[in-house]
């Protein structure tokens, strides 16, 4: 079944098509949601809510080529993750010294050896706002302007959080690589 057919059937309320949609894209969406949520259960709930939202809003989807359906659904998931983050933003205060230290970049070939699950855990371990900024900028390709608009911060704040996220990840990578040796 093509993406267009799948989308059309989901619009019409075909339960089987909706199940097919979930089966096709849930695993990838879960990995995306794991990057935005600290807790794996929260990530799973977010993923399911995102798929349900996509099914409800399927009439708004416009096919733009192969892979556009997943790209559209991933945008929905990111928006929902950011929306939840903004609501709880005031509850989180991050204080860590490593964020301001200048830590050297880890060697790429060693970073390549790190398993994906460990990378996911490292990213998930970041404070909420830094986690969101890092994911949106470095992995999902949002600009600082878009990040600032979505998170309700300034572009300077976005850049500052990105720098701190990078430093924190570098420190975690360094520690992991040292422990691995």
């Amino acid at each position: 079944m093509t993406e267009q057919q799948l989308a059309r059937l989901c619009c019409e309320g075909d339960r089987r098509a909706q199940g097919e949609l979930y089966t096709r894209y849930a695993a990838r969406l879960l990995a995306l949601c794991r990057r935005y949520c600290q807790d794996p259960d929260d990530a799973h709930d977010l993923m399911q809510d995102a798929v349900i939202r996509a099914v409800e809003k399927m009439d708004g989807f416009t096919f733009r080529g192969q892979g556009s359906l997943y790209a559209w659904m991933s945008r929905i998931a990111v928006n929902m993750a950011v929306s939840r983050l903004r609501r709880n933003r005031f509850l989180h205060i991050s204080i860590d010294r490593a964020a301001d230290m200048d830590i050297p970049d880890p060697p790429p070939e060693e970073v390549r050896e790190i398993p994906k699950e460990v990378m996911l855990d490292m990213v998930a371990g970041l404070p909420p706002v830094r986690r969101a900024v890092f994911n949106m900028y470095c992995i999902d390709g949002y600009s600082h302007k878009d990040i600032a608009d979505m998170l309700g911060i300034t572009e300077k704040g976005s850049a500052s959080n990105l720098a701190k996220a990078r430093n924190q990840l570098k420190q975690q990578i360094t520690v992991y690589l040292k422990e691995k040796e």
């Binding site: 990838r28 609501r87 970049d105 970073v111 390549r112 470095c138 992995i139 309700g152 990078r166």
Partner: protein
């Protein structure tokens, strides 16, 4: 050469995570239940819709029966005695005794048409005691003196009646006397009606009927109250006379629609629902006219706290169109009438329904403008303002609104 970030991106961009067991069934269960709470969502819409419909129903049914337009009261000048004219039938010359007199009240300008049954032979009035004629038997007929003698039933028979002349004399009432028409004292009421139609304009399906074609009757009442006169109780010691004394009562009152401004805060309950509250200021102005002292102004300043749930019908980067319903509590904090402070009233509660637009200045603050329907819970006492006469009213509020937690 790729750095560690690029490697992170490559690894995490399209990776997959294993789904826990029962994930698909859980998803299907959630999907089924997500369709049912459409009714729950409609309940959120029904709340502002019900409040708006209730406000409209009260507004349309708010109808003063009004009283018929009547004549203006005749204002009597002070301390004028009432004249009583005595009419007698044509005397029978063979019987020189005084016939039974008929007394009648005569009003200025009134012809003696009703007195044609007899000839008007005398004018009577209530003189002071020392003016009473003395019955001394003097025959004034030949002297041609026009008799001005009180003739009343019960006077002694030996009182000499003057010879009636041929012409019927109209009773002459001094010009200084103004007659008081006790039967026609009434208030005049003048009604102006106007229609104001408000379109709440976001066109949510449930609120479309309440929002479009909304009519409000704005009634202005101009009263000319009869309270500018005070009637003495009963008659004077001589058994006649009604005296009128003016007092400084209100003869006309006009209440203006209030002006409102506020500083409010809203907090998101979900993507489209917000809880709104804050501080709202209202100014109620009234003009009244007193009989003696003329026009005076009343200013009443109210502070209120609205609590409302708003639904965003349309959200863009710079504009938010919304509908809301809730209630408000306010109280008069300061009121003056003609420069003198007057007593404020107790807490007032109102139901609110509103629809408006929020222009976002930045992410957290914006300027709002919203027409509001409010229905004030009835309470006695307090300062008379526009809201006292129109418990259900349409107003417009504007101000600054902050959004937190979004």
């Amino acid at each position: 050469m790729k750095n560690w970030e690029d490697i992170f991106k490559e690894s995490l961009e399209d990776c997959s995570s294993s789904l826990p067991e029962g994930s698909l069934e859980e998803f299907q269960r959630k999907l089924s239940s997500s369709r049912k709470p459409a009714a729950g969502r409609l309940a959120w819409l029904a709340l502002p819709a019900a409040a708006a419909c209730a406000a409209v129903a009260v507004l349309i049914s708010h109808h003063d029966s009004g009283k018929a337009v009547e004549e203006t009261p005749v204002v009597a000048e002070a301390a004028a005695p009432v004249h009583i004219v005595t009419v007698e039938d044509a005397p029978d010359e063979s019987e020189p005794g005084a016939p039974d007199p008929v007394q009648a009240t005569v009003r200025p300008g009134q012809e003696a048409a009703g007195l044609r049954s007899g000839k008007l032979i005398a004018q009577s009035f209530m003189p002071a005691d020392d003016d009473l004629p003395v019955a001394d038997g003097t025959d004034t007929r030949e002297a041609g003196v026009e008799a001005e003698v009180t003739v009343n039933a019960g006077m002694e028979d030996n009182h000499v009646m003057p010879e009636p002349e041929n012409d019927v004399r109209q009773p002459s009432v001094p010009e200084s006397v103004t007659w008081v028409d006790l039967d026609k004292m009434s208030a005049r009421r003048h009604r102006k009606g106007g229609n104001a139609a408000a379109v709440l304009g976001t066109g949510g399906g449930v609120l479309g009927g309440a929002a479009a074609g909304l009519l409000a009757s704005v009634t202005k009442m101009d009263y000319e109250l009869p309270g500018n006169m005070v009637m003495s109780d009963g008659l004077s010691s001589k058994g006649e006379g009604v005296f009128a004394t003016p007092v400084n009562s209100v003869i006309r009152t006009r209440h203006m629609m209030p002006v409102k401004a506020g500083v409010t805060v809203r907090y998101p309950l979900s993507d489209r629902f917000y809880l709104m509250s804050g501080l709202e200021y209202s100014l109620y102005r009234s003009e009244s006219e007193r009989f003696l002292t003329g026009k005076e102004q009343q200013y009443a300043h109210y502070l209120g706290i609205p609590v409302r749930v708003d639904w965003s019908a349309l959200k863009t980067k710079h504009l938010d169109l919304y509908l809301g319903a809730g209630l408000s509590a306010d109280r008069c904090v300061h009121a003056v009438s003609d420069g003198s402070k007057i007593w404020g009233d107790k807490m007032n509660f109102s139901l609110l329904a509103a629809g408006g637009a929020l222009v976002k200045l930045n992410r957290w603050a914006g300027l709002y403008l919203e027409p509001q329907f409010s229905w004030r819970a009835l309470s006695s006492g307090g300062i008379e303002t526009y809201r006292s006469e129109h418990p259900a009213m349409l107003g417009v509020s504007a101000g600054v609104r902050f959004t937190i937690g979004e």
